[in-house]
């Protein structure tokens, strides 16, 4: 699954560690999500969406659709 986290993070001048701190996961998890190696759970996706004030669909793109 692709996502726009890296772009949104850059827009807000936020590091991976800052984002990880906000959503209470490790920096490695944010890195794996950004690279598309790991798909977050729905609660974590909601937390990220809420932080960036976007909907989940605006951040995560399902390539199979």
């Amino acid at each position: 699954m692709k996502n726009r986290i890296k772009v949104l993070r850059a827009e807000q001048n936020m590091t991976q560690a800052d984002l990880a701190n906000h959503v209470e996961v490790s920096r490695q998890t944010i890195n794996a999500i950004e690279k598309g190696k790991f798909d977050p759970s729905l609660p974590l996706a909601f937390k990220i969406a809420k932080l960036f004030e976007r909907t989940i669909e605006e951040i995560f793109i399902d390539e199979s659709l």
């Binding site: 560690a17 701190n21 209470e24 920096r27 490695q28 998890t29 794996a32 190696k37 790991f38 977050p40």
Partner: protein, 132 residues
């Protein structure tokens, strides 16, 4: 290092302390004959202490796993699944080799524990590398 990582580090240290205490108490019971603990009561007491510390280690491990984030839990689950499968399959094959006298030595439980440890460590390393 963020707050989550700091908490995880603290729980890792707590787990390491429990594990070290359990290993020391296990070694104490294992080598009790060499320590001249001829009293059965003393050996029984040392075994009970080992068991209680073991329960503490299980609690610390549960607490450690419970507080990992979702990716870390996935890495742990993958490593544990591989460890369980390999331990059962290889362990039983190894036991059969011993029963049928194909290997010249006894299949000891310590060999299985060693295999479990190595498989789990390799599984964690592969998982960490995969999601790097």
């Amino acid at each position: 290092m963020n707050a989550h990582t700091q908490k995880a580090k603290k729980r890792t240290i707590i787990l390491a302390i429990w594990t070290a205490a359990w290993l020391i108490s296990l070694a104490f019971v294992s080598f009790s004959s060499e320590l001249n603990l001829e009293s059965h009561m003393l050996t029984l007491a040392a075994t009970l202490v080992n068991l209680i510390i073991g329960l503490g280690m299980i609690w610390a491990n549960r607490n450690y796993i419970k507080n990992l984030d979702e990716l870390q839990k996935k890495i742990q689950l993958d490593a544990m699944a591989a460890t369980l499968g390999i331990a059962v399959v290889v362990g039983l094959s190894y036991s059969l080799l011993d029963i049928n006298n194909i290997i010249p030595f006894d299949a000891e439980i310590s060999h299985l524990v060693f295999l479990i440890g190595i498989t789990y460590a390799v599984g964690i390393a592969i998982g960490a590398k995969k999601y790097q």
